[in-house]
């Protein structure tokens, strides 16, 4: 292990240590730079991320720690007002699940969870905060209502984290750091799903 890798791994351990101990349900269990999070809130994001990117024959959101990535990005790379809107949206999300199924999202069945998420998908899709997955800077992010913004942020960051994860970029697609290549005329023999 070279020095850079060692330092990086140490940094990862330190940063994840801050959000690991999820002991009780209602007391703040994870302390971030800009906010504290309860165990329920942590569980909600993990469940939401897993519903968006579920474990199949390949790793899902929880396996890939995408929920932790959502929290990291929300803490570090999101404007204060958007963080505040996120938590308001989260409360509204909890209200919505209560209204629909009289229970928390965590207690919903897979089908119920899907039905809840489907209500959001009728509206415009999600973008991660700051940069969308294509890497462009968002000059003026769309103004959405807090509930929709909450879902959009979770979905956007989950997808961003997934498509930029080591798993995805080594197993699902192959990102080649070096050498790269450029074939300007790449024949598409059979434009079917791989």
């Amino acid at each position: 292990m070279d020095r850079r890798t060692a330092i990086r791994n140490l940094a990862l351990v330190l940063s994840s240590a801050a959000i690991l101990p999820a002991c009780t349900k209602d007391n703040p269990t994870a302390h971030f730079k800009h906010f504290d999070v309860t165990g329920d809130q942590e569980a909600l994001i993990a469940d939401l991320a897993e519903t968006i990117i579920p474990k199949t024959t390949t790793p899902g959101a929880k396996d890939l720690n995408l929920d932790k990535f959502v929290w990291l990005m929300l803490d570090d790379c999101t404007k204060k007002e958007d963080q505040q809107a996120f938590f308001k949206g989260m409360d509204k999300f909890n209200d919505l699940t209560k209204k629909m199924y009289s229970k928390s999202f965590a207690d919903c069945s897979k089908t119920e969870k899907a039905a809840i998420l489907a209500t959001f998908e009728k509206k415009p899709g999600a973008k991660p905060t700051g940069r969308n997955p294509s890497g462009k800077k968002d000059d003026k992010p769309e103004k959405k209502d807090e509930l929709q913004a909450f879902y959009g942020t979770v979905k956007g960051l989950t997808v961003f984290g997934y498509t930029q994860s080591q798993y995805f970029m080594t197993k699902e697609i192959v990102y080649e750091l070096v050498p790269g290549r450029y074939n300007a005329h790449f024949p598409v023999k059979n434009n079917m799903k791989a």
């Binding site: 990086r8 940094a11 940063s15 519903t51 968006i52 990117i53 579920p54 199949t56 390949t58 899902g60 990291l72 990005m73 570090d76 790379c77 999101t78 404007k79 899907a114 998420l117 998908e121 899709g125 999600a126 700051g130 940069r131 997955p133 890497g135 800077k137 979905k155 997808v159 961003f160 984290g161 997934y162 498509t163 930029q164 994860s165 080591q166 995805f168 970029m169 699902e172 697609i173 990102y175 750091l177 070096v178 050498p179 790269g180 290549r181 450029y182 074939n183 300007a184 005329h185 790449f186 024949p187 598409v188 434009n191 079917m192 799903k193 791989a194």
Partner: protein, 571 residues
């Protein structure tokens, strides 16, 4: 204050001093040391050594903590530089942060800077086109600015000289308004770019789509291997610094070459306060710097001085070089120093969808970025109601069909789909702007930076000519895209401030007449002939081609003149 100990003064005396280590400063150092001169290169920022100081160059995307996105605290603290497309987690360390180096914006100006050895040559977009006779004739023909004191034939051999060493990929396209150079193989156009090239060739007179010319070693020659550089690996993460030297930068090319001669001394952490003018000798005798670590002033001496601090900082240094002889800045008898600043208009884009070409895609990444449409407006004659014209970027791309709608198993599988979506095309304008006296920079003596140097006050803006040109770009490209059969054509304009194009030029312009210009045809100050300015500050007009290659050629040409005149005792 300066230490006047004689031995120390001798140690601080060089044959030549180069202020700045970016694209043009690197060339000044290389050419001067090649000719045997002992050279001191002053750089206000830190040292950046090739390969060793590229901390992110071998990182995978997932190794960046925020996957490339900068923390909001950094973004919010840097609203200006944050607008630059390359200011992200992988390259932020090569950009000047807003609060560290303030300036005054009398009019909004996004001043993007790189203060380190290598300067912005680590960060540039590497497009390299020669300027043509139409560009050097422009001001005289169209009646703006002042006549360039040189013509294309004066600089053509120097373009060849720098192209061979830097390594420029391109095709010989035989276009008068975009002269051919000494090229390495071009990066090929893809199927849709090639289609559009043919379509334009058949349907439009004097319009061309070519493979973009770029400073990448597509196939290195011996001279490039001798520099310690290797073939471009088509990684397209150039802004992190390239360990292969695959693209041209001062760090990979001119600076190590100059160091190998044993004639170059680099002094980083040296903010140039002013150039010292010797009234008795009637020329400049050296440079006064502030060491950014010790905050102490020091002086260095030489008989030749090259100012390559990047356009606006070169203006600042000259404006701040005041003496009894030059109370308004070094060489500023005419009063034009700091004036006639211009830039490039990059504020319009157009995109469209393409039907067909389903049998083709691309694989990998194109370092050249695709195609280039040389200027076609007002080239042979004035044919519109605006002056000059614009070049266009043009590229086609095809990605996989990834839907961001939905969630769950199918959605997840879809994110890894290898099914190709439709082709899309895109273009952006690169317009020439007209240098005007009302676009200027000056010193704000009431505000000083951390080293006691007055802040630069920038007053540069667009005008009606730019608006008309922008409108014409949208109209012409819409028409060309329509005739090519592209669908869902979507033009867009923005109001980005000048500066974000990172092609600011002028203020120390070349010209025939000392009454209306600062520099003669050899880039020498008319009134102080041992000081040479060969960066963007020296540009009389801006053309619409990218300017860096011209800075390189002008620099090599000026060094040749400086050394030969020095030998004759004239400098």
């Amino acid at each position: 204050m300066a230490n006047l100990n004689i031995d120390s003064a001798k140690e601080r005396t060089f044959d030549a001093i180069v202020i700045g280590s970016g694209i043009s400063g690197g060339w000044a150092a290389k050419e001067l040391t090649d000719k045997g001169l002992k050279v001191l290169m002053l750089e206000r920022g830190r040292d950046v050594k090739h390969i060793k100081d590229y901390p992110t160059t071998n990182m995978y995307p997932w190794e960046f903590k925020h996957r490339g996105v900068l923390p909001m605290a950094v973004q919010e603290a840097n609203p200006i530089v944050n607008r630059c497309y390359a200011f992200g987690e992988s390259a932020a360390h090569f950009f000047v942060k807003d609060n560290e180096h303030p300036y005054v914006q009398t009019k909004p100006f996004d001043w993007i800077r790189g203060y380190q050895v290598g300067g912005k040559s680590l960060l540039w977009a590497r497009q390299t086109q020669r300027w043509s006779e139409f560009d050097f004739e422009g001001p005289a023909r169209d009646g703006f600015a002042v006549d360039w004191p040189i013509r294309y034939q004066d600089i053509a051999p120097w373009y060849s000289h720098v192209e061979k060493f830097a390594g420029i990929s391109g095709n010989k396209d035989g276009i008068a308004e975009l002269p051919d150079g000494e090229f390495l193989p071009a990066f090929p156009l893809n199927a849709v770019e090639e289609y559009f090239r043919k379509h334009v060739k058949v349907n439009y007179q004097n319009r061309h789509v070519i493979s973009a010319r770029c400073a990448h070693l597509s196939k290195p020659n011996q001279i490039h291997l001798d520099q310690g550089r290797a073939q471009c690996q088509e990684r397209t993460i150039c802004e992190r610094g390239c360990p292969f030297g695959g693209y041209f930068s001062s760090n990979a090319s001119t600076i190590p070459w100059a160091l190998k001669s044993g004639n170059l001394t680099i002094r980083p952490f040296s903010v140039v306060e002013s150039i010292i003018y010797d009234e008795k000798k009637g020329k400049a005798s050296g440079v006064r710097i502030v060491d950014t670590n010790t905050k102490k002033t020091e002086e260095f001496y030489s008989r030749i001085i090259f100012v390559n601090a990047a356009a606006l900082n070169t203006n600042l240094i000259l404006l701040n070089s005041k003496s009894h002889r030059f109370p308004n800045g070094l060489g500023n008898d005419s009063g034009v120093l700091g004036k006639f600043v211009a830039f490039h208009n990059y504020s319009a884009h157009i995109g469209a969808e393409v039907e067909g070409f389903e049998e083709w895609a691309t694989d990998g990444r194109n370092p050249a970025g695709g195609g280039y449409i040389p200027r076609f407006r007002n080239v042979y004659k004035q044919e519109t109601d605006f002056l000059r014209g614009y070049a266009c970027g043009f590229s086609a791309y095809r990605g996989f069909k990834h839907s961001y709608d939905g969630f769950g198993e199918d959605f997840k599988a879809g994110l890894a789909s290898k099914e190709y979506g439709p082709w899309r095309v895109g273009s952006h304008m690169m317009g020439e702007t007209i240098p005007k006296e009302t676009n200027f920079v000056k010193l704000d003596d009431s505000k000083k930076d951390a080293w006691g140097v007055p802040l630069l006050d920038i007053s540069v803006d667009y005008d009606d000519n730019d608006e008309k040109m922008k409108k014409d770009y949208i109209e012409q490209l819409t028409e060309m895209f329509t005739s090519a059969g592209f669908k869902n054509i979507q033009p867009s304009t923005n109001h980005q401030a000048p500066g974000l194009d990172i092609h600011e030029m002028g203020g120390v312009r070349m010209g025939k007449d000392p009454k209306t210009s600062m520099l003669n045809k050899w880039n020498q100050l008319h009134a102080c002939t041992n000081v040479f300015v060969t960066d963007g500050a020296s540009m009389t007009s801006t053309s619409c081609q990218n300017p860096s290659l011209t800075y390189m050629a002008l620099t090599a040409r000026a060094v040749d003149h400086a050394v030969s005149e020095s030998k004759k005792g004239n400098v």
